[in-house]
Structures are given as structure tokens and as C-alpha cells.
Symmetry: C2
Subunit: 207 residues, 2 copies
Amino acid sequence: MNPEGMLLVISAPSGAGKSTLIRMLCRDFPGFGFSVSYTTRPPREKEVHGKDYFFVSREQFQGLMEKNFFAEWAEVHGNFYGTPAQQILDSIREGRSLIMDVDVQGARQIKNSLKRGVYIFVFPPSLEELRQRLMQRGSDPAGVIKNRLQNAVLEIQKSDFFDYWLVNDEINASHARLKAIVMAEMLRPSFNPDLIRKITSGERHDS
Amino acid sequence: MNPEGMLLVISAPSGAGKSTLIRMLCRDFPGFGFSVSYTTRPPREKEVHGKDYFFVSREQFQGLMEKNFFAEWAEVHGNFYGTPAQQILDSIREGRSLIMDVDVQGARQIKNSLKRGVYIFVFPPSLEELRQRLMQRGSDPAGVIKNRLQNAVLEIQKSDFFDYWLVNDEINASHARLKAIVMAEMLRPSFNPDLIRKITSGERHDS
């Protein structure tokens, strides 16, 4: 009996520090991969089909939607993006762990359709600090920042279904806490389904 | 809204290293206390009523049993031992965290009657290593060790209801994993019930 892989689903308002945390986590646990999404948006330079995205036509995408191919999908700026359900389930069943970086609505849909996974929501320590971080990035005009802050409030209000809440007040402390979540989740019985049999039959288990 | 305390219930076969791990954990998280059990056994020298145990008569104990006072109880070598349910619930509701060190049967009873808590089972890396550790302790004759090993197999076989399985192959690694479990459990929404309101109303949260 092989243990399943872990499905780690991480959401956060823009500017909360999620991408940095995910990068740090991937260094700690190099076994984690990313799921590859489907999109109708045209590939950008250097983007590789099957690695960055599966690039499909609107007709193909809609055909897949109708077959319930996607664990979640969304339309953003006129393009469709979707997460393939079966590929994720196959990955996990074969023992490969995945990190998914999705918005709150996507996380909820994935939880409802796949019925598994570890769901982490990253909070900023305050809205004021989030505003300052977004301004310091310098990439967004004031109107976009205002819009991101309003979205942040909406996302935070819907974050009650997550398994863990991580307040990113200081990046190294948050990194340690995120690592602790993954370490702890690896100690779940479902992650070691053969342990009772192994130990009681006289075998040895090393972590 | 104050967060509840954490109820950490730890079980392990004799010799798996549970007591050492609990001692290490108490240094990491000095906020954890221990629940005080009731017993009909006479106090030993230096034992303090209300600190080491609540020492009661058999009649008192049986009266309490009949009132469902105990989350779990057991008879060991002719003496009764019981864990008071209400005191534990009061402690937790008042925000005080507790560690309970009980056998597998006691852990199951506590889980069934209190319907909360984080349940951790500590495995030895193998039965052979457990036998060696028990022999190295030098405190038990061969017959007692054989008995402890048989009990270990029975406890391991019934450990499927625990939330986390910790294989104690190396004490420092196990300590880090146990610490990770507690760190992760502190990030549960139930441990931070006020967070959404706090952040969305413009307050700041520092961990």
C-alpha cells in the first residue's frame, strides 16, 4: 500500500506574501510539484504547453467543462482557466504531492469536488500593512490597489473553510509555521497507511 | 471571544519515549498544564492532594463514576484512576491548554466523551528496538518485558483513531515533529476565532 501524495491548497489576498512562502516551502520539500492548469489564453513567449499550461481553444475548454473535467474553473479578463480534477487525483494516488495556488473561490470548489487536501489561507497582519506592501511593490496604480484591498476583505470574509490560518506578519516565522503544517500533515495516518501492519509484523520503520 | 485552550492527548506503548517527548514539549510550550486525575490509591510521600492527584475513597470515586464525572476511568492493580471531564472542559474553555498522558483505551474514551482534542500516538521504530529499550532500562524482569511487548502490539493495533502517528526513531527528530504538530494545531481557525473580524475591521494581528 503506497501512501497518497499530499494536496496542499494555498490561498491569500494579493500582497499577503503567498508566492514567497510557496517558494520557500518548495525548497524544504522538493517532492512537491505543481498542478498544470488549462487555459484559453494564448501562450506567452517561453511558455511551454504541458508545463506552464495546457493551451486549448475555447471550444476544447467548453467541451471539457461539460464533461466535468475541471475541479474548478474561472473566467479572468475574458480567458478561461481550469484545474483538471482527474490529473490531480491520479497524481496524489500515485504518491506525488502537489501544491496548488488558487483564489478562495477556487479553493472552495476544489475542496468540494475532490473532497481531500490541506487548505491554508494566508492573512496579512492588517489591511493597512497589506496596503503598504501593495504600494511598495510599485506595480499597481492607486485604483488597482484600492480594488485589491476590497477583494482582500471579501476573500478574508470567506476564509472560514480553510484548515489552517497563517498570519504573515514576519516572513521567517510564517515560513516556519507553514513548514510545521506540512510536517504535521505528513504524520497523518492516511499518509502512512501501512504503519500498523509493518510494526506489528516485526518490521522496522524509519522516518 | 477568547480562543479555547488546546487539549493534547498523547499515548504510547511503554518504552516508546513518550515521557521524554512530553518533557521536551513542555519546555517549548510552557503554557501547557497537566490535568489532575482522581485516584483511590493512597498518597505516596511528597504527593500533594490537588496537584499530583485528587485522593478520594472508593466510595467517593464510585459516587463520582455514577454521576458521569469522569471522561475516562480505569482500575489498575486494584486502585481506581479517573480523569474529570468537567474540569478539563472548563480549563480548555478558559483558554488553558492541557497535555494528557493516557493509555490507548483512555484516549479513546476521552475522545468519545469530550469530542475534542488532538490525539497523538507514539510508535517505537520496531518491536525489536522497543524490546532493547525496555531491557536497557533494566527496571523490569524478563517476564514483565514480554508482557509489555504483548501490550505494545495490542495498543498499536488499536491506534487507528489517533490524529497523528509519530514514529520515535530518533528523539530530536521526533521532538521536532511533535513541536510541528502543536505549532500547526495552533493555526486552526478554532484557535483564532476572532481573526476574520479583527483583520476586516482594520485591526492588526501579531502572532
